[in-house]
């Protein structure tokens, strides 16, 4: 783990300059413009903990209704409404827990990291509001192990908030008591999956649990009802508590209200995290808009982009005018996932780009499910060979075979006017427990489907092998 002593270093990030441009609604980034945004003093000076105070004047049910009416969608990837999720916990089972998923490790995604580094008290306030509204007695903040600055600042913020009486017993003199525990992750991508995160929190290997029976809302941490929420999701709650659900739904579209943090990286002029109006902002706005990424570097053409984190199927320029909205993205053959856009310009070596992603997911497989453990690495090895120029067209066929075993049936992909392809809508089917396995295949599948010529140019054609059925060889009766 990297050593971290210089917390000053986090205060000058050129690549997030986009926050300061324009007059856009700021739900979660309102304090980002301050150098000392992570301190309790700045937080209190800018309406900090006002949401909590207002929330404590309401009944838990009223606050829960407020969140439900605001339709805050989960920002971890699945996009499920948080207020509805809270309602899934069984009545009368105690204790029940809130687990904050701060194990942000999806390739291309770094929005939660900024929310934790820049405004830890906002997250803490969100946790407290969630605990109050959903009736949770203890909160575990699981923060990715590599995020040293975030760890440091959250720890400091927790200490300050405890000292000031915002956390702990009888918060602000009420009979509402919650403890918040900070937990360091141990460095596994799969722990971003909520049941694997719970396993890790319990001290076990980070491996996903089967759903059913382990739906966290019913059987979660230590076998108790557990709400697992993403950092960004919770960071929205102070705004909802202070301004009400109407103010929140006034931003964005009816199906995707509020704002959304989008991390843009790759071949754009100005990569960064931007808080965009949810649902209506298009990919073209984000990639080419002056207030956002300001277009492709060196004036190049765009070749492809990943719309929602490394595991999402790719889009091409045909999809640029789709709004950043869950259902629209699904229909077009991909997903918004963790809200990370990675842009590839015309100079990109597509097989190499796919290899980077496939290698990541093969490496991050926890080893539980056979298709992911064996299939992911197999895909990576074949791709390695193809890129090195030692592959054959049989390897390309075999990639599709292995992919079919991981994701049976039709695999989603974007439409392409260039190739005359119709879109296959998201989601895919899968033979694994969690999305790590399919994630090793999805980018490679997109690359193979949308840019077949780049692969075919690298492989030698060999005559097809004739496959002799085993029954003919051995006479064995299957």
């Amino acid at each position: 783990m990297s050593h971290h002593t210089n917390s000053q270093g986090a205060e000058t990030h050129d690549y997030i300059a986009g926050f300061y441009i324009g007059d856009r609604p700021k739900v979660v980034t309102s304090r980002f413009e301050y150098e000392d945004s992570h301190t309790l003093e700045r937080f209190l000076a800018t309406d900090g903990y006002e949401g909590l105070k207002k929330c404590l004047t309401m009944s838990p049910q009223e606050m829960h209704d407020e969140v439900r009416n605001s339709t805050v969608l989960g920002r971890g990837g699945a996009g499920f409404p948080a207020g509805v999720k809270w309602g899934f916990t069984p009545q009368g089972v105690w204790p029940r827990y809130l687990v904050v998923n701060g194990d942000e490790s999806e390739p291309g995604t770094y929005k939660d990291r900024l929310l934790m580094e820049r405004d830890p008290h906002q997250l803490i306030e969100g946790c407290l509001i969630a605990c109050y509204a959903a009736g949770l007695s203890q909160c575990f903040l699981y923060v990715r192990g590599e995020m040293a600055v975030a760890q440091e600042r959250i720890a400091a913020a927790l200490n300050d908030a405890y000292a000031a009486g915002y956390i702990g017993k009888n918060i602000l003199g009420t009979d509402f008591s919650v403890d918040i525990v900070l937990h360091w992750g141990a460095g596994a991508y799969v722990v971003g999956e909520e049941t694997a995160l719970i396993e890790s929190l319990e001290g076990e290997r980070g491996m996903p649990r089967l759903k059913p029976p382990f739906f966290p809302a019913a059987v979660g941490l230590y076998g108790k009802p557990t709400i697992v929420n993403n950092v960004e999701t919770l960071a929205n709650l102070p705004f909802v508590a202070i301004n009400g659900s109407a103010a929140y739904t006034a931003i964005g579209t009816p199906t995707s209200p509020g704002t959304r943090m989008v991390a843009v990286s790759g071949h754009v002029k100005r990569p960064g995290v931007y808080e965009i109006v949810n649902g209506s902002t298009t990919f073209r706005d984000i990639i080419y808009g002056d207030e956002f990424s300001q277009g492709i570097r060196d004036g190049n053409d765009i070749k492809a982009f990943v719309p929602g984190g490394g595991s999402a199927p790719w889009f091409v320029e045909d999809q640029l005018d789709i709004p950043f909205e869950g259902k629209e993205a699904s229909a077009a053959g991909s997903m918004l996932g963790s809200g990370a856009i990675m842009v590839m310009d015309a100079t990109t070596d597509i097989p190499a780009a796919a290899y980077t992603l496939t290698k990541f997911y093969a490496h991050e497989s926890c080893g539980k499910c056979t298709p992911c453990r064996e299939g992911g690495t197999w895909l990576m090895r074949m791709l390695e060979r193809v890129i090195a120029g030692h592959g054959t067209d049989a390897d390309l066929d075999q990639m599709r075979e292995v992919g079919q075993t991981i994701c049976p049936g039709d695999m989603p992909h974007a439409s392409s006017e260039r190739l005359g392809l119709e879109a296959v809508p998201f989601p895919y089917k899968m033979t694994t427990i969690c999305f790590v396995g399919p994630s090793a295949w999805a980018p490679l599948h997109s690359a193979l489907t949308l840019f077949p010529e780049e692969f075919e140019a690298r492989v030698t054609k060999v005559p097809k092998r004739v496959s002799i059925p085993v029954t003919a060889l051995s006479g064995a009766d299957a």
């Binding site: 497989s365 056979t370 075999q398 292995v402 075993t405 049976p408 033979t431 085993v470």
Partner: protein, 812 residues
């Protein structure tokens, strides 16, 4: 290919409902187009397999929780939202569910999984012990793609590496199904093998410097679906298709686990556990699994022997039997039946014990005993007896006995499971920590010998009283300490029964067929106070009152807690006849040695601690000219002149062991139901009836103890100096060795460091043993394992007649 049961659990049977009123737990589902009735909570895979639709699988095991790891059992399931591929080991049936195990989608997924599982599998089947009985091999043939398209380099690991003295691990063959690691964690409670590394490099591994030293490690070899785990005693000994097998029962201890006994070329090569639902759930302990090596031992007695002036020399059977018969007749003529004692019979079959009981009756000796002063009075068997299932489902389990993990290991598994699954609360009374202490709801430590007081104060506790009153209670009663009188346990058991009058009792007597032997004529017959039990017989022999001591598979010099008494008894008895399988300290002193057939060499029946009678299989021919014990008894019984079996005696005309089995059911009232037909009808066995008896009244006077003294606790470890262990090449080095264990803080008091030899001075004698600091031993107590190899002998200082044994520990 032989039908080797790598996994012999019966799937829950799904029966059609015949009653008119609907079963509230019935769930109607469609399986491959046919209507099937399942039970609520049934797993889809169990329903499919129970109805003839085989679903390939590796990680699923019916006796362990499902993990959905291998993904091989994917089938298509429709719960109203259209067909979805689902792991059938993870989902339970729901009303109107449609299951398709053979759809093209399901088949494609299953074939794909096999291809991926084989990708990194070395396919070294020709040199793999599992080849021929390998689930991966079988299912690759059945549902696999038939050829490998994987051309990358496979994973490489050092192969194989020993992970314990008994088990070797080949990580290249491993398909990471989590069965062994789950077994170690869930079933055995010895979480000593785990997954390490991640993703494609995931591997099963032990912790550094900590071997997989589990008493149950052999089970992981049996349930491994590939050849990744192999057992040292069987490696490269046979191919599965060369093995012949017969179902039998393990008689290593009295749990009576069902096994298959496998041999090749007339040599025992392997035992495998069979899933007997009421008994062992498919598991075996390593001692029971691997002690077939003792049967094959080169040290076996193969011929009868007679003592001459030149010492023991081999003799013909007719000569040896004439000698033995002559010794009995001579003793009867000169001294009468009271100068003959017969000890043993618990190591054999019911038939052996019955025949020897009948011979003891014919001789009319007052001295007979199947125990050697190391058990409890036979009245224990007359208490309201519990079955293992009743114990493992009772709301309260009271432990008043030895460390079950050491003495009755599979019973330990069953009771541990009961506590882990929260079916039962365990209340344990023990002088030291035992294997079950960590699972006990209350674990009461008492001064050795003082368990009655501990029980009395426990039942005065409101929580414990409420727990005892809350439901059924099963008391597991055995001998916890060989250095104290059995009266201490009898009194404590009586106190517990007074507090919980409805409680059932499960006898925890250790020796294989001790219940059968005690029930079929080898229990002492005298009244309380003048029983004629083993201690009485040995005492009489030591005093020169026994002219002929007959040892039927009994070795008092290593099994009687009071070795000094045994030594004096064997010296004091004028003549000794020993019937045994291996030479022992006792056979060396015998005048006539009769070579006995061992386990696997004789058929018959055996009775476990519940009273459950199951069959024993003869799988190999006897070594040399050895004979089963019953045959020797019958032949002697026919040659005793006036004392011979009469013409109408049930054993007068027996020609085979089946005749003896029939004679038992015809003449022993408790075994009237145990006919050969009944036994043939149920592999789980037939329950014998139980007698009714009251515990003998005992008075326990626990003497005060000098505060400089340590009170002695002696009991058995799984591996000790017994023949089954000592004669098994793979097990002999597992015995921990003789030592005196005290609390680590007591080491300072004694003024020694660990490993130093100390003197243990009792009122009777002195023993010299290395001392070991052990946190399981309370302060003021010294614990020593019984019958261990080593230089010192703790048995020397035990007094069989004393209530307790106190020792002073001194530096040398």
């Amino acid at each position: 290919m032989t039908d080797v049961p790598t996994e012999v659990a019966e799937e829950p049977a799904i029966e059609e409902i015949s009653e008119p009123e609907p079963d509230p737990n019935a769930v109607q589902v469609t399986l491959n187009g046919s209507a099937v009735t399942a039970q609520k909570g049934d797993l889809v895979i169990a329903v499919a397999e129970g109805n003839g639709a085989a679903v390939p699988h590796f990680c699923y095991h019916p006796r362990m929780s499902s993990v959905g790891m291998c993904r091989q059992c994917l089938v298509e399931v429709d719960t109203g939202r259209g067909m979805q591929l689902q792991p059938s080991c993870m989902i339970t049936v729901s009303p109107d569910m449609k299951i398709d195990t053979e759809s093209p989608t399901a088949k494609r997924a299953q074939e794909g999984m096999i291809e991926l599982l084989l990708a990194n599998h070395p396919l070294d089947c020709p040199v793999c012990d599992k080849g021929g009985e390998c689930p991966l091999q079988d299912q690759s043939y059945a549902v696999g793609p038939g050829e490998s398209r994987y051309v990358e380099e496979k994973r490489h690991y050092e192969k194989p590496i020993p992970i314990s003295d008994l088990v070797l691990l080949d990580r290249e063959r491993c398909i990471l199904c989590d069965r062994c690691t789950r077994f170690a964690d869930e079933v055995a409670g010895d979480k000593l093998i785990v997954f390490t590394e991640r993703g494609n490099n995931t591997q099963v591994m032990t912790f550094p410097d900590e071997p997989f030293a589990s008493y149950f490690s052999g089970n992981t070899v049996q349930i491994c679906p590939v050849g990744a785990l192999t057992a040292e005693p069987y490696r490269f000994k046979a191919r599965p298709w060369d093995l012949e097998q017969q179902e039998s029962t393990c008689t290593t201890c009295s749990v009576g686990c069902r096994t298959v006994v496998q041999s090749s070329r007339d040599e025992l090569l392997r035992y495998q556990g069979v899933d007997s639902d009421p008994v062992n759930h498919g598991w075996l302990c390593d001692r029971g699994r691997f002690n077939f090596e003792a049967v094959n031992s080169e040290h076996r007695l193969t011929q009868p022997m007679i003592r001459t002036e030149a010492g023991l020399i081999e003799a013909s059977w007719s000569g040896a039997m004439a000698s033995a018969s002559g010794l009995i007749r001579e003793t009867l003529a000169n001294g009468g039946p009271a100068r003959i004692a017969i000890l043993g019979g618990a190591r054999g079959s019911n038939e052996d014990a019955f025949a020897w009981g009948q011979l003891a009756d014919a001789i009319d000796t007052p001295y007979r005993d199947a125990q050697l002063g190391d058990g409890l009075p036979g009245e224990l068997l007359g208490l309201n007896r519990a079955t293992i299932d009743e114990a493992a489902n009772a709301s309260t389990i009271v432990l008043l006995g030895p460390d079950l993990k050491e003495e009755l290991p599979v019973l330990y598994l069953r009771l541990r499971d009961a506590a882990e699954k929260k079916r039962s609360k365990i209340i344990e009374f023990s002088a030291t920590d035992t294997g079950l202490s960590r699972y006990a709801w209350k674990s009461v430590r008492h001064e050795p010998g003082n368990q009655t007081d501990a029980v009395e104060s426990a039942i005065a506790d409101a929580d414990i009283a409420a727990q005892l009153a809350s439901g059924d209670v099963v008391i597991v009663a055995g001998r916890p300490n060989l250095a104290e009188s059995s009266d201490a346990t009898v009194a404590a058991l009586q106190a517990m029964l007074n507090a919980a009058p409805g409680a059932k009792v499960l006898p925890a007597l250790r020796r294989g067929n001790v219940v059968g032997a005690l029930s079929l004529g080898m229990a002492p017959t005298g009244p309380v106070g003048d029983r004629g039990d083993a201690i009485d017989a040995l005492t009489a022999a030591a005093e020169g009152k026994i002219d002929l001591l007959i040892l039927v598979g009994a070795d008092p010099l290593s099994d009687c807690p009071d070795t000094d008494l045994a030594r004096r008894a064997l010296a004091g008895a004028r003549r000794i006849i020993s019937i045994d399988t291996h030479p022992s300290e006792s056979t060396k002193l015998a005048d006539v040695v009769l070579a006995a057939a061992a386990y696997g060499e004789k058929s018959g029946t055996t009775t476990n601690l519940e009273g459950r009678v199951t069959t024993l299989a003869q799988k190999v021919t006897v070594v040399g000219t050895a004979r089963p014990d019953w045959m020797i008894a019958v032949e002697l019984g026919m040659s005793l002149g006036d004392n011979s079996f009469g013409a109408d005696h049930p054993l007068a005309d027996v020609a085979s062991v089946n005749d003896v089995t029939d004679a038992i059911s015809a003449t022993a009232p408790l075994f009237a139901m145990v006919t050969r037909q009944a036994l043939a009808g149920d592999p789980n066995g037939v329950m014998s009836a139980q007698p009714t008896a009251l515990l003998p009244a005992v008075s326990v006077a626990v003497a005060g103890r000098n505060s400089y003294d340590y009170r002695l606790v002696v009991n058995r470890k799984l591996y000790d100096g017994a023949i089954g262990t000592a004669m098994s090449r793979s097990l002999v080095n597992l015995a921990p060795g003789a030592a005196a264990h005290v609390h680590p803080l007591d080491l300072d008091g004694i003024g020694v460091t660990e490993g130093t030899e100390v003197k243990l001075i009792s009122a009777k004698a002195t023993a010299v043993l290395p001392v070991v600091g052990n946190n399981n031993v309370p302060r003021g107590v010294v614990w020593a394992p019984f019958n261990q190899p080593g230089t010192g002998s703790i048995e020397d200082i035990i007094d069989a007649t004393a209530a307790n044994t106190d020792v002073r520990i001194e530096r040398i």
